[in-house]
């Protein structure tokens, strides 16, 4: 592909001058060539154009209506005059990739609007890992200048929940009748939610779910030393556009609370630290590549399999061979 041979500086210039095609190419470049794209990402960080977008995570179990909600959030953001970049984390695999595109099509009207940019990412098939790919995309959308960045992801799974840490704040979506409170518990997202919203709030059991979430939030410990109000629990009927505008107002309010209490700064520092961590692992593997030819890798594995060595000893050996 000609994309991977693209000139990083040309791409960066394209992005900062508002060229959507440069943005799309840069995202693909980072997805497909996590190593070759490091200079581009480093230049982004040094461009002093990062940290201006409000990054909002939207998470919840499959079937709670995240896509519909995201669609209407985009519409309301546009009505209020904001531009928005959207990242959809799709847990389908490469083998079945595209099968979930059906429920994305609803969003396609946004594709003719230059104030909206939507990107889908699979849970797998990223050489540098999903988390790195998401962080890169957030940085690219941020540098491009979007007022808001929405990240929609399934709230189940270790890697997927980690992704929420890429956001400034997170909206957790629930619905009645989906195994009741279990959906929140299973999702394990109770402690990462800044705002909870019960979708399909006209359905039986909505009040029960709302009460349960409120109870759990009342029991949860607050942030020590910070004067942060408890997360609100809202209700909406996304497919009738009821409650979505209120949700957006709550997002802005919460973002301000996080900003004033310095929690936003803490989270952004944490996000940077995580990026350093991932870069460390990535740099290590790049540095070790020459020592891990197919035959030497094979004999390393065989030594372990035959009980002559262990993974930890081989790892230590590799680090010493290369670095000491």
């Amino acid at each position: 592909m000609s994309i991977s041979s693209g000139d990083p500086l040309a791409l960066l210039n394209g992005i900062t001058s508002g060229q959507r095609r440069a943005l799309a190419r840069a995202i693909s470049f980072c997805e497909n060539s996590p190593d070759e794209s490091r200079p581009l990402i480093s230049a982004l960080y040094r461009s002093k154009r990062l940290g201006r977008s409000k990054v909002v995570g939207i998470t919840g179990s499959p079937g709670v209506g995240k896509s519909t909600l995201t669609g209407f959030l985009i519409r309301h953001l546009r009505t209020r005059g904001y531009s928005v970049g959207v990242i959809l984390i799709d847990p389908s695999s490469p083998f079945t990739g595209g099968a979930l595109l059906g429920d994305r099509i609803r969003m396609s009207e946004s594709n003719t609007d230059t104030g909206v940019f939507i990107r889908s990412m699979g849970s797998r098939g990223h050489l540098g890992g999903l988390s790195l790919a998401t962080q890169d995309t957030v940085s690219l959308l941020d540098a491009f200048g979007f007022d808001y960045i929405l990240i929609e992801t399934v709230g189940i799974g270790q890697a997927e929940t980690e992704i929420v840490k890429t956001a400034d704040l997170t909206v957790v979506v629930a619905v009645p009748g989906l195994g009741d409170e279990i959906q929140i518990i299973k999702a394990g997202v109770m402690e990462i939610g800044d705002i909870f919203v019960v979708n399909k709030a006209d359905k039986d059991g909505a009040e029960k779910v709302i009460t349960e979430i409120n109870m759990m939030l009342d029991m949860a410990p607050g942030v020590p030393g910070k004067d942060l109000p408890r997360p609100p629990v809202l209700r909406c009927i996304a497919n009738r556009d009821q409650g979505v505008s209120e949700l957006l107002t709550a997002v802005d309010e919460r973002w301000l609370q996080l900003d004033i209490s310095d929690i936003l700064l803490v989270r952004r520092r944490e996000r940077i630290w995580q990026a350093v961590n991932e870069s460390l692992h990535y740099s290590l593997m790049l540095n070790l590549r020459p020592y891990l030819s197919v035959p030497s890798r094979h004999s390393l594995v065989e030594r372990i399999r035959l009980g002559e060595s262990s993974p930890f000893e081989e790892a230590q050996g590799l680090l010493h061979q290369k670095f000491f």
Copy 2:
């Protein structure tokens, strides 16, 4: 806890002489002290007691009845005279931990049987990561001498799907009426299944799900150069113990096919390689710890936040500072 100060050799001796308490303590030790437990795990690898258990993954969306199925699989394994270790990966968080124990209680009858050992692990809160903790536990159960090791995990999420790679073979569980084929697609587990089983097969829509899975399997590419039959699609009604014995027979049959075709060996080598990879990252962080005091970490993050540096450059710098 006194566990972390335990003598690795004493623990290893306890495990290899069949002491369940030593086994339980060793698992906790690896969970709580991933660094201090490396010598124990290294000794395990060198004990030449690994690779004897049949490791079976059981995965599927929430609500398909994995726990019930696992419970009856344990019973049938015991009836056939086999011992079995069980790892339950529980995606609930520390905050809400224990809330899912309800559906575990059904299994408690197995707790009085010394041929069965059951261990629950949360998706988070593992210092060394869930994948490392699972691999360690598999190694410990393997060295203890269980004939079978069952790993039950939700088939959603990158980290959770990775865990399946810890198994020799994987059973994917589906049910009718849970968003039809989407459950399989969303789970992204189509290509990792060695056996597919449709639970609650007496319910409406069972035949539809079976047909759909069969169609998807017919479209899927086989393993190149390997004479491996296509994965079977079975049906069962786990809570009435219908079809579970047949599933177990299918597991044994598939295991033999994988063994004969050398795919089992390839998978086990891949598993070892993954353990080396995780150990590499882990060793790196251990080695860098002295360079990452709170103040130096803070100024590193601030350099990046203020646009004077980037994660990749700082990572490279750390590697060079320490290792070159």
